[in-house]
C-alpha cells in the first residue's frame, strides 16, 4: 500500500468517526441504522404500465415490515429510481445505488435486455440483486436471486395443455430480443417433444405496432393456436388488430395478461381464448390473494391492476427479510449460506414458494388463466409447487461454483 492511499484511508477514517460522532450527538437511537434496498424499475416509458405496480408492491411490503418493527429491528429504507424503460439508465442507476447509495440489495429490472445490461455491473461491484420478473430462464449467477417464473414453469405446463385441447400445429409470434428468441426456442423444443409441428415463427422488433402482414402470415399457416410472446405496450396492439381481422385463434402466452393486463385495457372480445400461465394475477381466487389485493388497493386506490410482477416484488421483500434475519447479516455470502440450506420458503399471496439453492430461482404455483369472451378470467387448471428445475438439471449449481452466465437449451452449462 502506498503512502498516499494510507493517508487517504486515515483521512477517510477520521471523517468517518467525525460523522459518526456528530450523528450520535443528534440521534441517540443510532444503533439501528437502516437496511437500504435499491429499487430500479420502469416508472415511465414503454414498459411502465406493467412495472409501476412493482414499485408500489415494494413500497407496500416495506411499509408493512417497518410498521411491524423492521428487519431484525432495523428499518427498511427504499432508494427508488425511475429507469424509464431504458437499458442505459439501468446501468447508470445500478452503478449509483451500488457505489454512492451503498444499498444492501437491489430489486431491479423488467425486460431481459435491461437485466443483461445491469448484471455485469452487479458482478463487477459484487452486489446482490433480485430480478422479480418472469423471464426466459437460464441465469446462473450467485449475485442474482430470481423470484419470477421461468419457461419450465410456464411453458412445460402451458404448451402440452394447449396441444391436447386445440391441436398440434403451433405458430409463435415473439418479440425480437433475448426474451422472445429464447422463449421461442423453449416453445419449439416442447412442441417437438410432444409430437407437434411449428407451422411458423415471426419475430417482431420492440416498438412495432402494425401487424397486418403477421396476421396474414398466421392465416396462411393455419395453426391450431398462436403463442404470443409480445412485449411492451406498442406490440400489444396485435390483439386488437388480429381481432379486427377475425383471426379467431386461441392464443397461449407466458407474458400477457399476467404483466400488461391486456384484458383490462382492450375492448372485449379481442383477447377471447387467450391462455396464460402465470404465478399470480389479481383474479386468483384464494383468501391470501384477496387479502393481498385488498391491502394493495387500500394503499394505492388508483392502481389499475395487481399483476404477477407486483406479487413477485412483494414476496421478494419478505423473502429478503427472512433471509437477513436468519443470516443475522446483510452480507451476500451470509445470506447465500441461508439459501443453501434449501428451506427459504414463504406463504405468498399465490401460495407456497421456495428458493432453489442450485439456481437461486423460485418454485411457484402456476395458474392457467383463460380470458373469456367478456374478458373475465377463469382458471381451468392450477399446478401447485412447480420447481425451476431446468438450470439445476442442466448443471448449474451455485452452491459449488458461480459462472455468472445465462444458459439456454441450445447453450447449456458446460459439463464438468
Amino acid at each position: 500500500m502506498t503512502g498516499k492511499t494510507m493517508r487517504g484511508l486515515r483521512a477517510a477514517a477520521l471523517t468517518g468517526t467525525l460523522l459518526l460522532s456528530v450523528a450520535q450527538g443528534f440521534t441517540p437511537a443510532f444503533a439501528a441504522d437502516p437496511i437500504k434496498l435499491g429499487v430500479l424499475e420502469d416508472q415511465s416509458g414503454d414498459f411502465a404500465a406493467a412495472t409501476i405496480g412493482k414499485v408500489h408492491a415494494i413500497q407496500l411490503a416495506a411499509e408493512e415490515i417497518n410498521k411491524a418493527g423492521g428487519i431484525d429491528g432495523r428499518p427498511l429504507e427504499l432508494v427508488i429510481y425511475d429507469t424509464q424503460s431504458d437499458n442505459t439508465r439501468y446501468q447508470e442507476f445500478m452503478r449509483r445505488v451500488l457505489q454512492r447509495d451503498k444499498v444492501d440489495a437491489v430489486f431491479a429490472g423488467f425486460s431481459s435486455a435491461s437485466r443483461e445490461a445491469y448484471r455485469p455491473i452487479v458482478n463487477q461491484f459484487d452486489g446482490f440483486a433480485f430480478y422479480n420478473n418472469q423471464y426466459e430462464g437460464g441465469v446462473c449467477d450467485a449475485n442474482m436471486v430470481v423470484t419470477g417464473a421461468v419457461p419450465e414453469q410456464q411453458f412445460s405446463t402451458l404448451i402440452p395443455w394447449m396441444m391436447e385441447k386445440y391441436g398440434k400445429k403451433v405458430y409463435t409470434l415473439a418479440a425480437d430480443y433475448n426474451f422472445g428468441q429464447i422463449s421461442a426456442e423453449w416453445v419449439r423444443n416442447i412442441v417437438k417433444e410432444h409430437g407437434g409441428e411449428m407451422v411458423g415463427e415471426d419475430f417482431i422488433p420492440l416498438g412495432v405496432s402494425q401487424f397486418s402482414q403477421n396476421i396474414q402470415n398466421i392465416q396462411k399457416a393455419k395453426p391450431d393456436f398462436v403463442v404470443t410472446l409480445l412485449v411492451g405496450t406498442a406490440q400489444a396492439s396485435y390483439y386488437e388488430q388480429a381481432a379486427a381481422a377475425s383471426v379467431n385463434l386461441p392464443m397461449a402466452s407466458s407474458v400477457n395478461v399476467g404483466q400488461g393486463y391486456e384484458h383490462k385495457r382492450f375492448k372485449p372480445p379481442s383477447l377471447k381464448d387467450m391462455y396464460v400461465t402465470t404465478n399470480y394475477i389479481e383474479e386468483v381466487d384464494t383468501p391470501e390473494s384477496k387479502a393481498f389485493v385488498a391491502k394493495f388497493k387500500a394503499k394505492f386506490p388508483n392502481e389499475p391492476y395487481v399483476n404477477q410482477e407486483a406479487e413477485n416484488s412483494y414476496l421478494a421483500v419478505y423473502l429478503y427479510k427472512q433471509m437477513v434475519e436468519r443470516a443475522k447479516s446483510t452480507k451476500r455470502e451470509d445470506i447465500r449460506k441461508v439459501i443453501a440450506q434449501g428451506d427459504v420458503c414463504m406463504d405468498a399471496p399465490e401460495g407456497k414458494v421456495c428458493i432453489d439453492p442450485k439456481s437461486q430461482h423460485m418454485s411457484h404455483t402456476i395458474y392457467l388463466a383463460k380470458v373469456e369472451a367478456d374478458h373475465s378470467i377463469t382458471f381451468p387448471k392450477v399446478w401447485a409447487d412447480i420447481k425451476p428445475y431446468w438450470l439445476g438439471e442442466a448443471g448449474c449449481d451455485l452452491t459449488k461454483s458461480d459462472p455468472s452466465a445465462q444458459y439456454t437449451p441450445s447453450n447449456p452449462p458446460p459439463k464438468p
Binding site: S44, G45, D46, A48, A49, I52, D176, D202, F203, I204, P205, G207, V208, S209, Q210, S212, Q213, N214, Q216, Q219, K220, T233, A234, A236, S237, E240, Q241, A243, A244, A245, S246, V247, E262, K264, R265, F266, K267, P268, S270, N302, P304
Partner: protein, 290 residues
C-alpha cells in the same frame, strides 16, 4: 392460392403501409414543408389526438365525431404551442428542435402523471371481410381511404382556397406577403395548427387499433420522419410519392423476410434517397418542372 387473392393481399398490405406512412407523416410534412420547423413533438400531437378521441368515445360520442374532435383539440393545442413557444423561435431553427423536443418530453411524462400509464381502448369498428381464405379488417380500408382523402383535402386547401394562396405566398416571400396585407403571423399560427391537427387526426384514426399509452406517439415517429425526409419539403410532390415508394419497400420486405427487414428496408431506402436526392423526391420533381 390463386392470383386474385395474392394480388389482393399484396394490394391490401401496400395500402395499409401507405395509409400509415401518409397519416403519420402529413402533419409533420405540413409544418416542416411550409414553415421549415422540425417538430419533434409530432408524436405527442398524435398521442393527444388519440387520447381525446378515446375519451370522447368513452363518453358516448360516436367514433367519427370523436376522431374529428381529437383532430380539432390537437389543432387548438398546436395553435397555443405556436403562439407561446414556436413563434419566438422562427429565426432559430435549431432552437425549435430543442424546444419541440422538450415539449415532447413534457407531453409524454405529463400524460403519464396526469392520466396514468394506460387507457382502456374502444375496439375496432366494422369487423372483417373474407377474401380467398384470408380475412381482413374493414377498418384498414377506411384508414387507406382517409389517407387518400387527407392528401386530396390538403391539395384542395392549398390550391383552391384563399387561405391556401395566402399561406403559399407567406411561405415563398414572407415580407412581400406582409406588404400586400397578409397577416403572416396568423398564417403561421394556422399552418402550425393545421399540422398539429393532422397529427391529431392520425392519432384519432389509429386509436381504435392500438394500445393507448403516453408513449404511443413514438411508434409513429420513425415512419413519419422517414417519409418526410424522403419526400422533401413539398407536401404533395413529396409526401405522397415518398409514402407510396416506402410502402412498396416496407410491404415487400416485411412479407418476404419479416418486420425487422421491413424496418431495415425503410432505413436503407432513406439512406439511398438522401445520398442520391439530397432534397428528397419533391426536390427532384420540382427541378424537373422548373
Amino acid at each position: 392460392m390463386d392470383v386474385g387473392t395474392l394480388a389482393f393481399s399484396a394490394l391490401y398490405q401496400f395500402g395499409d403501409a401507405f395509409a400509415f406512412l401518409v397519416l403519420s407523416a402529413c402533419g409533420l410534412a405540413v409544418i416542416f414543408g411550409m414553415m421549415g420547423v422540425i417538430n419533434l413533438a409530432h408524436g405527442e400531437f398524435i398521442m393527444c389526438g388519440a387520447y381525446v378521441t378515446v375519451s370522447a368515445a368513452h363518453a358516448g360520442v360516436p367514433l367519427p365525431l370523436a376522431i374529428l374532435l381529437g383532430a380539432v383539440v390537437s389543432g387548438l393545442v398546436g395553435a397555443v404551442v405556436e403562439i407561446v413557444v414556436i413563434r419566438h423561435l422562427y429565426d432559430r431553427p435549431l432552437d425549435t428542435i430543442v424546444a419541440t423536443w422538450g415539449l415532447s418530453l413534457i407531453g409524454t411524462q405529463g400524460t403519464l402523471i396526469l392520466l396514468g400509464s394506460t387507457m382502456a381502448g374502444v375496439g375496432t369498428p366494422f369487423g372483417s371481410f373474407p377474401v380467398g381464405g384470408y380475412s381482413y379488417s374493414v377498418y384498414r380500408l377506411v384508414l387507406f381511404a382517409m389517407a387518400v382523402a387527407v392528401l386530396g383535402g390538403l391539395y384542395a386547401l392549398f390550391n383552391w382556397t384563399r387561405f391556401g394562396v395566402m399561406a403559399r405566398a407567406t411561405i415563398q416571400v414572407p415580407h412581400m406577403a406582409a406588404a400586400l396585407g397578409v397577416d403572416t403571423r396568423l398564417v403561421y399560427s394556422l399552418t402550425f395548427a393545421l399540422g398539429a391537427g393532422l397529427a391529431g387526426l392520425a392519432g384519432g384514426l389509429y386509436a381504435p387499433t392500438m394500445t393507448l399509452v403516453p408513449t404511443m406517439g413514438t411508434t409513429f415517429i420513425m415512419e413519419a420522419f422517414v417519409t418526410v425526409v424522403v419526400g422533401g419539403a413539398d407536401v404533395f410532390l413529396g409526401t405522397a410519392p415518398a409514402a407510396a415508394l416506402l410502402a412498396v419497400v416496407k410491404a415487400t420486405m416485411t412479407s418476404w423476410y419479416g418486420q425487422l427487414f421491413g424496418q431495415i428496408g425503410l432505413l436503407v431506402a432513406v439512406i439511398i434517397v438522401i445520398r442520391v436526392l439530397p432534397r428528397g423526391i419533391s426536390g427532384l420533381l420540382l427541378r424537373e418542372r422548373a
